[in-house]
Subunit: 355 residues, 2 copies
DNA sequence: CTGAAAGCGCTTACAG
DNA sequence: CTGAAAGCGCTTACAG
């Protein structure tokens, strides 16, 4: 019964067995300096007493807490679940726990959040920074996940290439008039995606970029995007930089009686949770969060291990690997060939071709 | 410059000032046993040396890590961002850090996740359990956030009442034929919401409940829900148990040319990120995550503090407070009075009345 | 008001 | 193969 347990520690196990705590430690850590027979007895006794090593004592002794920090500009980001899940998994696989800190999109709080994490003894941190912020001068290794265009970036999806793939896909479907939709021109990620989309369309294509932040500044949050109007002006496709925008475009179009994808194609980005379940299901770009998280954690752990323990324990700095992870096109039904009435239940073959 | 710092510790500060480390400790912790003048000098020196207390040493000495665990059935849940953000904030305000653990929806991994957290020295944990799971026998205080109908629940939104409010609202709008949509009949949260909705509708109402899990079992994930068919059979409203389902219903209806809310009303739950930006914006129920998180953290911290430090340090157990936090109806445009063509840009007055 | 000392639970050279 | 000892950096009675 759990209630019979006494707080077992190394000393307790040692005493119960009449051996030294050093031996117990060696046996349990499996460094092989203890005879197999004694090791066995020690392990059994540890089990029996429900021994859990004290992380505090171990951390104090070794100087390693086994904990990483995850700093997010805004936890409420719809992509956050995927990110957090992937980071947590990669960290756990590398033997680390992860402490979260939310900077609530506020630059000054980002610094606060970073400091809180340091005060809790993290050995390194992953930062997904707020647009335009630069992370410097943190007293521990830092891996930044942002966009390859961000200085000091460590890993990122290849957002530009993702845009390129979408642009080419749309071009391949015959679209020549496309509206590109993003939120904020200050975001490197969004700019990369927009640039890629433009580059992927045919050179002769007519293109127009809508920045939602600008629209909302004039008409208030959640305002209409005026996409039906664009269709009337001959645009046949809407390439957005996020599934959230794609959804907004899709429902606005449908609400105005414009059939998707028959009369207008819509594409998103990120393969967010609703992308596969809306009607029509969204064609989108997916990033491999698992690989991104693994790359970030690998770089971080390498930096942590490289730190000379004899030197300043606080040796920090941003890891600049600038490695890019490819994005993958997910073809569903919200984008179709221009001017071709498509059967609703048929998935179009991909006619991919360069502009 | 950061690079000039030597790992400053209490002893270092003490040595630099020619005082004892006990005095430095007392001065810095502000317990007031040190003269104001000396305290000042100590604080200045600490600042100058960039002193950061060692969390490991403090934890080892005091037996308190200052860290809480957050265990989620599935981080990929769209509600997770709100939850994590609120928990992180409430924990930080109470002086705790939060370590995350994802059980990936898997029951056995939930136990693993809990153990990992304990091995990292958390003083208590918040668990948002997988459907139907019961948390028992954890060696530290546990606060469960689930549904008030879940045994061992600590705090929860009042899901049943939320359903009741939606049901009454729809009844007030004149809806007599409503389809209730949920995913999984094993979920207490979903059952509470469904039960509440039914109770809120007029006794004479015709009601039908669609379980998405059943549909998908037959027709595959992301299959059509067949809502247009329901409209043809005289149903005028779709009360769903999540904005994700509401979105699915909305787009399917729109895709089939059925105008929302003119021909069919749709309601959701949780006020997820897209609820305000789709067209028409979703009428939904919002839960006050901040209050839920605060209640959970408060109960948890109380339990942690109540633990007799002289007794088993592992004294655990699930806190059963069963407190309920009211949900709030968010009226937007996706639900409207039955048979009344509404101007698209007008928000309907609430005609709330009991069945 | 200030200090000397013990001890939290580990790990790691170093001896034997 | 096993053990005695030191020490990680703090906090906390206890003396003075």
């Amino acid at each position: 019964m759990a209630s019979d347990k006494v707080s077992a520690n190394l000393t307790g196990i040692a005493a119960a067995l009449g051996v030294s705590s050093a031996t117990v430690s060696n046996a349990l850590s499996g460094k092989g300096r203890v005879s197999a027979e004694l090791s066995d007895r020690i392990r059994r006794k540890a089990m029996e007493l429900g021994y859990v090593p004290s992380p505090a004592a171990r951390a104090l002794r070794t100087g390693r807490s086994g904990v990483l920090g995850l700093v997010l500009a805004d936890i409420a980001n719809p992509l956050f679940p995927q990110i957090a899940q992937a980071i947590e998994k990669a960290a756990a696989d590398a033997g680390f726990g992860v402490l979260i800190a939310d900077s609530h999109g506020d630059v000054s709080k980002q610094t606060e959040a970073i400091n809180r994490l340091i005060e809790r003894g993290v050995e390194g941190m992953i930062v997904i920074p707020r647009r335009g912020t630069r992370i410097v001068d943190v007293d521990c290794p830092v891996a930044v996940i942002d966009s390859p265009s961000t200085p000091g970036n460590t890993v990122a999806a290849d957002h530009w290439d993702g845009g390129l793939q979408i642009g080419r896909y749309l071009a391949g479907l015959g679209h020549q008039d496309v509206v590109i939709i993003a939120r904020n021109p200050d975001s490197n990620v969004q700019n990369d995606r927009v640039g890629g989309i433009r580059a992927g369309l045919s050179a002769a294509a007519r293109t127009e970029t809508l920045w939602i932040a600008h629209l909302e500044q004039q008409h208030g949050e959640g305002c209409r995007l005026g996409v039906a109007e664009k269709v009337r002006h001959g645009f046949t496709a809407f390439a957005t930089v996020s599934d959230l925008h794609a959804l907004r475009v899709l429902t606005e179009l449908q609400d105005e009686g414009i059939a998707v994808p028959q009369l207008a194609s819509v594409t998103g980005f990120d393969d967010l949770i609703w992308a596969p379940v809306v009607t029509p299901a969204l064609t989108t770009m997916r990033m491999d969060m698992t690989r991104i998280a693994e790359a970030a954690i690998t770089a971080l752990v390498r930096a942590i291990d490289a730190r000379d323990p004899a030197a300043r324990p606080s040796a920090g700095g941003v890891i600049a690997d600038i490695s890019k992870v490819a994005m993958e096109l997910v073809i569903r039904r919200s984008a179709a060939a221009k001017n071709k009435k498509t059967s609703k239940d048929k998935i179009l073959p991909v006619g991919e071709q360069t502009s």
